[in-house]
Symmetry: C2
Subunit: 198 residues, 2 copies
């Protein structure tokens, strides 16, 4: 028998459809919301419903933005000769937090033939256009070190080869805080390749 | 510098304030929402904003409900002589899924002097009233097997002692699928106390 009101069941379903949220967490979140002040729910609800009007993609770099150009593309304080290519806006945030000061280009994903994602589904042509028009000295390929990310980096490198711009790829090796004993063989091999004078 | 539009930052904050959601998950959920169809966000938003109007507490058992009386209290198919006392609506759902067919009483929490939660903060008086007026044969105390839950069960038992109704407490012992080797000593002691003819 239906123990819960229809709206609560629906709310649980919606929460459950979000990534990383299982049925129990969805229940817990829904019941938590039931106990929050009405003002919290109303603000939260307006934020979600209003994303459409408030958020768009930057025309230059395809980062999410509240205007035609995002804060980074508009800023005068950035190094405009370096372009970092990432898969998703979340990657951009991670790179930004690491202290990078140049510009970005968000691809919107990575090449993945298995999922029918080809070059035309990503903002790759726009990247080529930017590079051909811009005064970039270095393009840093910061796609993920996964099969898809590597394939995407390789593809972009091929497309950009004739533009006389330096193309680099993020360094690979042991992450900070890691343990040599537990590092996988590929990571360890990469960290040998990438060893530096000390 | 601010990399993200204000609304997205706020949305991340709201997600982060929910229980069990850390900063990274909050980011991931917010970015996921940005990519969902506008109709998904609009429906989700309406559900959250509309909880106020759609959901109330059942007048009898204090389960969440869309009417004055919840589906269980209204149903004619339940065993109306058995009353199961639980702390929260989520406990009710768990008990319901275990196949219980009687009625419920949701306390709205457990006694917790450290958090200033006394008998008057829970629906205990309403429970006494229901028992004194009703034809219940058995009251099953299904509060959590925690310090607070035990104290609450004990308190309720004392208050109900004079009403000539059978009072039981949920059985304790090894959970299904558990390992004797790894069971904590208290649980094991309880499962010895609760051993049955085989």
């Amino acid at each position: 028998m239906k123990v819960l009101p229809e709206v609560v069941v629906k709310l649980i379903d919606y929460f459950e459809s979000l990534p990383g949220i299982g049925p129990r967490t969805a229940e817990r979140l829904s019941f938590y919301l039931l106990r929050t002040p009405a003002s919290f729910r109303s603000d939260f609800s307006k934020l979600i419903g209003g994303l459409e009007k408030e958020v768009t993609l930057c025309k230059h770099c395809f980062n999410i933005s509240s205007h035609d150009l995002c804060a980074i593309c508009e800023s005068q304080g950035r190094d405009r000769e370096t372009l970092c290519v990432v898969e998703e806006p979340l990657d951009l945030i991670a790179v930004e937090n690491s202290g990078y000061k140049g510009l970005y280009h968000v691809l919107g994903g990575a090449l993945s033939p298995l999922n029918n994602i080809g070059p035309d589904d990503l903002h790759i042509q726009e990247l080529i256009d930017r590079v051909s028009k811009g005064d970039f000295k270095e393009i840093i390929l910061a796609t993920n070190p996964s099969v898809e990310g590597e394939a995407t980096a390789m593809y972009i490198k091929t497309r950009l080869n004739n533009y006389g711009v330096k193309i680099t790829r993020l360094g690979r090796g042991l992450p900070v805080g890691a343990d040599v004993e537990f590092a996988d063989s590929q990571t360890l091999a990469r960290s040998f390749e990438g060893r530096k004078d000390y």
